[in-house]
Every structure is written in structure tokens, then in C-alpha cells.
Symmetry: C2
Subunit: 376 residues, 2 copies
Amino acid sequence: MENTNTAEARLSVVPQKFSFANFVLENGEVLEEVTLDFETYGVLNPARSNAILIAHAFSGDAHAALFHEGDKRPGWWDNMIGPGKAFDTGRYFVICSNVVGGCAGSTGPSSINPKTGKEYGLEFPQITIKDMVAAQKKLVEHLGIEKLYSIAGGSMGGMQVLEWLVSYPNSMRSAIPIATTARHSPQQIAFNEVGRQAIMADPKWCGGNYYNQEIPKAGLSVARMVGHITYMSEKSMAEKFGRRTKSEQEPTKFHADFEVEGYLRNRGDFFVRRFDANSYLYISKAMDLFDASDGRHLSEKFLELDAKLLVLAFKSDWLYPAHQSLEIVSACKIVGVPVTYLEIDADYGHDSFLLETETQSRVVKHFLARVDGSVS
Amino acid sequence: MENTNTAEARLSVVPQKFSFANFVLENGEVLEEVTLDFETYGVLNPARSNAILIAHAFSGDAHAALFHEGDKRPGWWDNMIGPGKAFDTGRYFVICSNVVGGCAGSTGPSSINPKTGKEYGLEFPQITIKDMVAAQKKLVEHLGIEKLYSIAGGSMGGMQVLEWLVSYPNSMRSAIPIATTARHSPQQIAFNEVGRQAIMADPKWCGGNYYNQEIPKAGLSVARMVGHITYMSEKSMAEKFGRRTKSEQEPTKFHADFEVEGYLRNRGDFFVRRFDANSYLYISKAMDLFDASDGRHLSEKFLELDAKLLVLAFKSDWLYPAHQSLEIVSACKIVGVPVTYLEIDADYGHDSFLLETETQSRVVKHFLARVDGSVS
């Protein structure tokens, strides 16, 4: 989608910070200081009843919509968040925060450890999806919101949505988990493990202590390339690249003969400039460890739940296949939680939750409108 | 499949060598000396009409069946080649050779360059699937065989089968391309490119000059891990590992929590002991460059073809999906080449061509029996 805003018409957003102390993690360890980077769009109504929390995916951040001062590209879900859009900022107060463990303003392994005055590196405790969500809960309470109107997110964002439902079953009126799963399959774990191995195989990773020297660029770039392939579909890659060869060849052997090779190399190179290798390790591990059902049947975890669900999957998403979304739908039905399910016919693979706007917008908008007659 | 041969009953096979000089490659470069490592099983009949050539996959070798002296495991397709098996060595003379560019006895980048007296490394020319097949043709002629009874192979072996059909359309009575494609899709190229990048990102790769020092073990291991995931199916991984966690944990962070992680690490470690990193680069590139249709419609390349085809695909193979096999079937039908197609319902993913024995054996055996009444 081309963004049609002119430079003058661009609405900018200012990142905010929320800090709290002595955060007890799921594994019992304590983070003395935690800061969350977050953004908000729209206006909180006097009843504080129109707030929607957006949870970001693996490599996402708090910048979900609008523009940062001077930026040419808007936030990562700007096609879905804004006046008249799926998450209509004319009606709803939308919040998005960078996860604990991240590297885009929130406390993570690249933050300074107050105990040592140096970056945490691998001294950072292993955070979980439950910890990410517990931190968000503190932010939401800090904003004076008792009950969210909704909570939505795709991929790892969807895992956070599920964890909210399990940890705080009375804290939202509705929820929209998209292209996600209650737990990773061995295949999903395996793809993450390859990324971690690629990073740790890079001698520049130095056991995680690379912050004041050269970063493990090569390893992180390979990890991102693996991820990128899994986010696309066979069809979307074929449409984007075919077998077109690059017009200008590099003079070395094993150059990128095909456009797809050059694209992947560029995406890998671009990624290393904005993402911390240790955050890659911690967050991907948090995804692999996540199990919303905690070894039981998922429906048992939904017994206390008082919310309506919209579950979305995409036909071409082979990384988070529809049967994983259907497991969530089944769990809802077994315990009588109202649920709507749609498998959207988009060709972008797992990336569809970011790229498909039309159907997602319609279904999300209608779903949100029917959650609660009191907001209109 | 458990091999039930006892140590005493094991039939051993001795690797053979075939050498020739001044091999002109597809790109015009010349290899002064070429050696092919090959094995044969069964007996060539006096009419020399019962020979079947087996082409191996990416990381395969000439050792397709029986045992090498002292080995505990037989060749890679021993479940398919032998007395009474799919490729019945009581009837047929089966040949398998390691490809040019390989590292299991045939000339490749780890061989000594006669011009310099040192290993080729990246001085080795970029070989293609056509070159692999041209070298096999010389071996087959050297064995006094004018027309093969059949030629069969899975994955990259299937690409070689297709190249035989295009390059030497009157040199075989039948052909069996399995789990393969006439050309790689961008997704297949992308997975190979990630493997190459992982190898070249390893500082120990040293631009390909690592033969008398430490090898790029870490990079090659990551490359192999990516490959392994793509060879399995979501279902076969789930059945093999589930989300079982390892009983004994390593004391470091980012250890292998799940069995699947430990398995992948072990497979990667095992692979680096037997496979050359530069061969990985050259052979994977040969696969990516391969296009049996050469930019035209594949059927046009089959106009001269005088052979019967059996095309096999596997339902759970997402790396080489059935629609790629169906393209080969369509091309045959358009030009009246007799073709039988079967999509086999096995759960092992792309590895099915190596692991599924029952259906493959039946269909291959019946197909071969009907190719030509003269061999019985």
C-alpha cells in the first residue's frame, strides 16, 4: 500500500516511556529497573473504556502508526490504525509498547545493568511471553485503564494476546489473535534455533559481549534471511522475483545471480542496523518456550475468560498454518467463549497480517463495532 | 527400515574410479582431469541392455547400496536397490556415481588443481547439472552401454534425470524423476542462498582457502540445519520430537531446550565431518541455475524424447511441491511422451523419497517390468 499522505499532512507521534522497579519475572529473577517504550494514537474517553492494546511481532516495536518526526515511512501497522481504519482512532484509544527483552526503547539485553553499569548481554534473565504481558499490564494500569476494549496482534503479537486471555481473563472485552499459535511446533522451534545458531556461530557475537565493539552482523543477517523466507509464501516469492536474474553482477564468485538472493542479502543487511543480536536470541527463545495451554487442554485455560474473540489466519501462511488458529477456536467453543474465525485468502504468507488490509480491515471493524454497544 | 542383514551376510561393494581428460564444461571452461567415483550392483547382461543409472541428491554420493567393508550402515538407497527390491539387482545392472563438483571421490573444489598442485577452492569452475550429466554419459559409454534401461533419482537426482532426457533423448528406455523440479522456485533458491551465506559468513571459510587449516564448521553446520528443516514435514517433525524437552541440559544459556534443537545441532555437527563447504556452494548453485526448459516450454525440450516416464511426488513434500512434478507430467502429455504419475501419501516431507519404501518399491518395480518385454 502506497501511503498517500503528503509531507505536510503527515501526522506525527512522539514515543513515550513508562518505568517501574523490581519486576519479578516468571522464572523468579528480578529486573530492578524496567522501562517500556510506548506510543498512543487517538484519545482515551472519560470512562477509559475505549482502549485497544496492540502487541507487536518478533522484530516489531512500539511504533505501530503515524510518523516519527522526519521519517518517510509510517509505523508498521499504519494501514490498520488511524481515523476510519480497522482500529479507528476516531473511536478508540490505541496503545502499542515495545516488549521487555526488546531493543527499541524497552529494557532488554542491550540495556545497562544497574548492578554492573555495563550492558546486560547474557546476564539478562530469560524473559517469557508471560513477562512481556505482565509488563504491558502495568503500563495499562498506569494509564488508568481497568478493562481494555480489545487487544490485538499478529504472530508473536498473537501469542501475547493469548497470554493476556490466560493471565488476565477479566481485563478485556474482546481479543483478536492473528496468524498465531498457542505453542510453537517443532518446525517453528527449528527455524528459530537455526537463527540462534547462526548468531552464536559468528565469532563477533563473543558470548553476547559485543556492545562496545563490532557486532555479529554476518550471523544476525543470516538469521534474518531464514526468517524472511518463512514469512513469505512460495507464490508471493514467485510473484515478487520469479527467476529474474540481477542485471548488474558482482565480480565475485557466488554472487547473487537471482533477484531473490540480492533481496534477501539486502534485507539481512538492513536488519542488522536496527536489531540487537541478543534480543534476537532472547525473544525467539521466549516464543519457543511459550505454551498458552501450559501442558493442559487449551480450553481449560479459557474457563475464566469473559471476552469475545476474533481469530484470523491466512491461507498462504505455512509458518503459522490455519490448524494452529483452529485449535484456539476449538478451545473457545468447548467452554462457550464467543468466537468468530476467518481464514483469509491472501497470498503474502505469514506476512499477510502486515500486508493484507482490505479483508482484515472490514472484519476487524465490524467485530469491534459489535463488541459493546456502549462505544459508538 | 531396520536392515536385517547380519554381519556375516552383509554384501559388500568396492568403490570404483573412472577418469578422463579435458572435460569441456557448459560455460566453456575446461577441467584437465576428471575422476568419477562410482559403484555398481548386479550384473550387466551380454546385450548390455539392463543398466539403470541412479543419480544422487545434493549431499549424496556413489554409495547407493550394500556395505563398504567394515561399515555398519549400507548405502543411502539400500532399501530400494538389491535382489528383489525396487531396482532388482537380480535383473538389472545398477550404476551410481558421485557428481562432478562433489566431495566423495569425484573431482570437485577440494581436489588438487593440476595447474597449481593445490586444492582448487574457488578456482574450481562453476559446474552445472548439465556438466554432471555429461560426465555420467562418459562413464556410461566407458562401461559399453549405449542405451540405459532406466535412469532414476530424487531431488537433485531428479534434476539430473530431467537433464539426461533433454541432453540425450535417445539414450534411455525409461526415466524416473522423483520429488524434483524442472527449475527452482525463488523459495528454493532462497533456502539455498541462506546456506551459502551461512558458510561464507564464517571467517574460517577464508574465501574458500581453508583446506590446510580449520574448516568453516560453524557456517556449514548452520547451512545443513536449514536444509534439514526443509527436508522434513511439519507432521514428521511433530511425530519425531513433539515439544519434548531434553532431559539433560547444558549449563549455558541458549542451550537446546527441546529435542528438536539438539537433533538439528547433532545433524549439523555430523555433516561437517563428511561434506566439503565449497562443494556445498558449487552444488547448491548448480541446482539454482538449473532450468530443464531453458526459458522455453518444457514440452518443447521433450520433442525428441523416446522414453517412458514415471514421475513421483510426495504429499507432505513442501520443498518440492507436487505442482512442480505435475509440470513435468504436463510437458510429457503435450508431446505424447508416455507418462505415469503418482503423488504418494507419505509423511516424511521431502525426505520421503529416501524413507518411504513400500509404495515406491511397488510402483517402480511394476513400471520397470513394463518398460521393455525383452528384459525378464
